[in-house]
Amino acid sequence: MEPITIWWIGERAMAPAVMERVQQELAQAYGVAVRCAEPPGRPSGTWDPKRRQHLTSRMLSWLLQVGPPGGKLLGLTDQDLFIPILTYVFGEAQLGGRVAVASAARLREDLGPGGEGLFMERLVKESVHELGHAYGLLHCQVPRCVMTRAAGVRDVDEKSRHLCPRCRHRLTEPGRSRHAVE
């Protein structure tokens, strides 16, 4: 399976510890080489002034345009993301494609006593999840599998950061992934 590159493409700085943690967990989950790298800049043309959010599909196009030629690319951001029909999304990926994006903007909601540790855990889960899509996985209905749909932070907290056996199996199944149109 192809290696993964992680870019921080947010406005403010992100603690290196968080990035390292995501890197480790992705390597664990997919058993591939994962590296953190500096992006050539910040995405442009993604901001929607009416919604005051960034349009996810444009984020993905930007990543495709400027990203490295091979492997999977995950963009992490602190900006709030949306798709036209929904009020927000936590992230999006090209199904079976090269790029994915995940947002930390809403992952600090209702942290409670979990604090930064819980925030990091959420970001890890969303990162593993979006890359799962990039590797061709659909949403899973096995409880606690990281590929279950999380529509809100409660759903994120409910699931684990792990792929269930079936999803793991599907990852290695050739021709199983459905390729989304770009």
Binding site: R51, P84, I85, L95, G152, R154
Partner: protein, 469 residues
């Protein structure tokens, strides 16, 4: 858990970006998603293939969402329709629901709301399939004409009724109001050798004694003021058939004596006449009164009681045969589907629990009425608890006040409203759509009230349509 792979969804919107982003989102849940840009091509797809869910925009050029819904239903009656709308057109969306849409979504919508709505539809459709199987299995057994039951006590009643039907002995049906005395009387007639003859019903409670007398026995022309012509009574009308004397416990003393005579002699004369009329009639009588008590108190003739009580059949009240409730529900829903011209496929598990737990003082008739109301009010093919309009049972959580309980007289209207909303939300397990229906407001209104009173479930995001900060 049902797999989404069998669930085919058609997304219809004239804006490509909306179609794409919604289809992409649903795609990842494993649904089979197709898209159409207008009503016409949507109908073409619906004509070609079965779909589970239609998600359509409301405002589209040419055919709008409402028109599409109406046409789509003709092609696929069990299709769940969800209408997408902008704030400005919420009223029309409500109209869509009145016309049978499952729900509506205000664009842009909350991802949690969309997720939950899809799951709910899939779960309901699954339930419908299970019910259909159940229904088929139940239908064959446990019937006596129009009566359905599988309770052992009722099976004994059916057995007795079948045997008794073959004779021409008088039958006395006893049971509470709504327990099915009249249907049983008709069933006995239908099962008897007299089935080809008339079934004539007389309600003894409805008429004054003298009117009842002429009703039963008929009269000759001029026998009393107003008797313009000769009139055949019910006894004659029931010749070679069955005469059903309903509410026989309400008959007055004079008529009790007359009845006694006919039952003894099987002949009588019309009022004001001398001619003896002989009839061949099987009598089935019914009452919800305690006739033995009436005999003891002198209100009912003992000799008449014994004449009627040849084969007594006692119909148990519904609360003593709760196992019949699901079966009767199937029985009535099938009829209601036909009458309403749209599928009514079942009730949610919560609704079923409530139906089984209800005391049913009005017996089967009350059950039928409750289901009828539910079927009319229900949004989709499945009746929910709130649709039934049964009085709510006690609080499900300790901290929630019981709905409908009077509040202290020192509270402001806002406080009462807030508490009532909390109570209803608690009762529905924080189901906003269902609570809105119980409260008689639309969901948008309920959301805004919830926001105003700061109501959210533990750990819940506040429903939001605006980005944070």
């Amino acid at each position: 858990m049902p797999s989404n792979e069998r669930v085919r969804i058609l997304v219809v919107d004239d804006e490509e970006i909306v179609r794409e982003s919604l289809a992409g989102w649903l795609d990842k849940d494993g649904y089979l998603v197709e898209q159409a840009a207008d009503g016409r091509s949507a109908l073409a797809r619906l004509g070609a293939q079965p779909f589970s869910i239609l998600i359509s925009d409301l405002k589209m050029p040419e055919m709008d969402g409402l028109a599409l819904q109406a046409e789509a239903r003709k092609l696929q009656p069990s299709l769940a329709v969800v209408i997408m709308t902008a704030y400005a057109t919420v009223d029309t969306a409500v109209t869509a629901m009145k016309q049978g849409a499952f729900d509506y979504l205000v664009k842009p919508f909350d991802p949690e709301e969309l997720s939950m709505m899809m799951q709910k539809i899939v779960a309901q459709q699954e339930l419908v399939r299970e019910n259909a199987v159940l229904r088929k299995a139940l239908r064959k057994e446990h019937q006596l004409q129009d009566l359905a039951s599988k309770a052992p006590a009722m099976q004994a009643v059916f057995e007795l009724a079948r045997t008794a039907a073959r004779s021409s002995s008088t039958i006395l049906i006893l049971g509470e109001s709504g327990a099915g005395k009249e249907v049983l009387a008709r069933a006995i007639h239908a099962e008897s050798p007299r089935a080809a003859g008339p079934f004539v019903e007389v309600s003894c409670a409805a008429l004054t004694e003298s009117l009842l007398e002429s009703e039963l026995f008929g009269h000759e022309k001029g026998s009393f003021t107003g008797a313009m012509a000769r009139h055949k009574g019910k006894f004659e009308a029931a010749h070679q058939g069955t005469l059903f004397l309903d509410e026989v416990g309400d008959v007055g003393p004079k008529l009790q004596l007359d009845l006694l005579r006919v039952l003894e002699e099987r002949r009588f004369h019309r009022i004001g006449g001398n001619e003896i009329v002989e009839v061949d009639v099987r009598i089935v009588a019914a009452t919800n009164r305690d006739l033995q008590k009436a005999v003891a108190s002198g209100a009912f003739r003992e000799d008449l009681f014994y004449r009627l009580n040849v084969i007594p059949i006692r119909l148990p009240p519904l609360r003593d045969r709760r196992e019949d409730i699901p079966l009767l529900m199937e029985h009535f829903l099938e009829r209601l589907s036909a009458e309403l011209g749209r599928p009514v496929d079942g009730v949610t598990p919560e609704a079923m629990n409530a139906l089984v737990a209800h005391p049913w003082p009005g017996n089967v008739r009350e059950l039928r009425n409750v289901l009828e109301r539910g079927a009319v009010v229900a949004r989709g093919p499945v009746i929910e608890l709130a649709d039934l309009g049964l009085e709510l049972p006690g609080p499900t959580r300790g901290d929630a006040p019981r709905p409908g309980v009077a509040t202290a007289p020192d509270q402001s209207l806002d406080e009462v409203e807030r508490r009532h909303i909390i109570a209803v939300l608690a009762h529905t397990g924080f189901n906003v759509s269902q609570s809105a229906r119980v409260l008689g407001v639309d969901r948008v209104t309920l959301y805004s009230k919830m926001r105003r009173y700061g109501l959210k479930r533990d750990g819940d995001d506040e429903p939001t349509t605006a980005p944070p900060r």
